[in-house]
């Protein structure tokens, strides 16, 4: 088969994957602390390889090793830009001010990190996430028993007028090693452990999703039209092949 058919098909498949990711983003446009996912493709290398093949050169020739290795390579990447800060007036809501800071949450799968500050209390007064995972303080989980739980801008938790703990905040100098898990939480897959820092947060406010409906729509249109273009390319190649099969060599 013509190499162009495969090129068009693989580019089309990338667009389908893009759509999956964009729809997940759109579904989470109202999820507190959600971070947008983007599909990273490497089109230059892709084109280079095919260009070489078309020119009759060996794309796998020594010296081009790392370039060839990235052909077709796509990966998801998390956009850690800040979402809008929304004031809620709820004393258990906090929004982190520094984009590299995270709260620490204990889950059955281990330690995770989140920027979703929509906390709650469980039946014992322990500060937990909305799905009941314990939020870590400087000295372990924080038990806030007593009337009038309040969190100040440095993360100090007061209950009944007494200081009962302080929310642990860690800073990642580099967020590349973080992978998304459910609940707007992230786990470390590579890179150094984060350093504890003095938290600086906005009390009674939440950091909303950093997905924008406008860019989400534009992404959808781009993906849709790109897919159309690749299917059109595949159809064009197909009709060329058809012409070749039916017309070339026909007796006049």
């Amino acid at each position: 088969m013509d190499i162009g058919t495969y090129a068009a098909a693989s580019l089309g498949i990338v667009q389908l994957r893009k759509l999956e990711i964009q729809n997940n983003n759109l579904a989470n446009v109202n999820t507190v602390g959600f971070k947008r996912q983007v599909l990273v493709t490497s089109p230059e290398n892709f084109d280079d390889t095919f260009a070489k093949q078309l020119q009759g050169k060996d794309p796998y020739a020594p010296g081009d090793q790392d370039r060839v290795s990235t052909v077709n390579e796509v990966s998801t990447h998390t956009d850690f830009s800040m979402g809008a800060i929304k004031s809620t007036g709820n004393p258990l809501d906090v929004a982190l001010r520094n984009p590299n800071d995270f709260f620490v949450v204990n889950t059955p799968q281990g330690r995770t990190y989140t920027r979703a500050g929509n906390f709650s209390l469980d039946g014992t007064g322990t500060i937990v996430t909305q799905d009941g995972m314990q939020v870590m303080g400087d000295g372990g989980p924080i038990v806030a028993q007593g009337a009038g739980v309040n969190i100040t801008s440095d993360g100090t938790v007061r209950a009944g007028g007494f200081v009962v703990g302080r929310l642990q905040v860690v800073r990642f100098p580099e967020t590349k090693g973080l992978q998304p898990t459910e609940g707007a939480r992230f786990k470390i897959v590579s890179g150094p452990q984060p350093a504890p820092v003095d938290g600086y947060m906005e009390p009674r406010a939440l950091e909303m999703s950093n997905v924008s409906a406008v860019t989400g729509m534009i992404d959808l249109i781009t993906t849709n039209r790109a897919f159309d273009a690749y299917t059109k390319a595949a159809q064009t190649i197909d009709s060329l092949n058809q012409a070749a099969i039916t017309q070339v060599g026909r007796r006049q």
């Binding site: 759109l26 469980d122 993906t223």
Partner: protein, 262 residues
Amino acid sequence: MIRALYSAATGMQAQETNLDVISNNLANVNTTGFKKGRADFQDLMYQAVMEPGAPTSQMTINPTGIQIGLGVKTASVQKLFTQGDLSSTNNQLDVAIEGDGFFQITRPDGTLAYTRTGSFRLDQNGQMTTADGFMLAPGITVPPDALGITIGQDGTVSVKQPNNAVPQQLGQLLAVRFPNNGGLRATGQGLYEETQASGAPVTGIFSQQGFGRLNQGFLESSNVSVVEQVVNMITAQRAYEASSKGITTADEMLTSAINLKR
């Protein structure tokens, strides 16, 4: 591809729940003691199409892998127990709690419930009840010849009786609070039930040890802000539309793919 359809559909479902909660809040904008609800969303699990660190050649690995999220779910719908505005009614049986705490009520089946709606009435026996006729626990009975009822900041109920210069103390409104107010189960009629998530009730006296202060002649308004809810309604609607466009796009792309074969 079907993943794209499903994750967009979860987005639409989540926004439907969001609108349910917002509509209930708006419907109760004038309900005494009503506490607004809030739907909290979480992203669902991620499916690893390519694990992070998968080798891309002998020399190189994929730094982040490919992780595809599967949409969104409603993590919780919680009641936010922020203070509502106090409005003056000049009714001697209206009591508003300023701060933390609940009144304890006995329901007709004998179980206890808790409320912040302090618009009390007297029944035919002089018992203080809620608007639905549920009695306070412990009950307070007002004698028929009472001239005026006084409810103090600490919940002490006393009456003035004819031929007696000294006010007669009838009892005290019990103050109750929970480790986690948000975990209470709302049962309607302004009542809440204890759950495992709310923790066991802690009783005390109003105006003491962190309990709120009582204000006679006032009612606590709903803590729903119309502006806030309408803004939330707009974002919910737009989010719903955005997810529906995601479904349309997935459908169009599937159609294009199918039309490849002529």
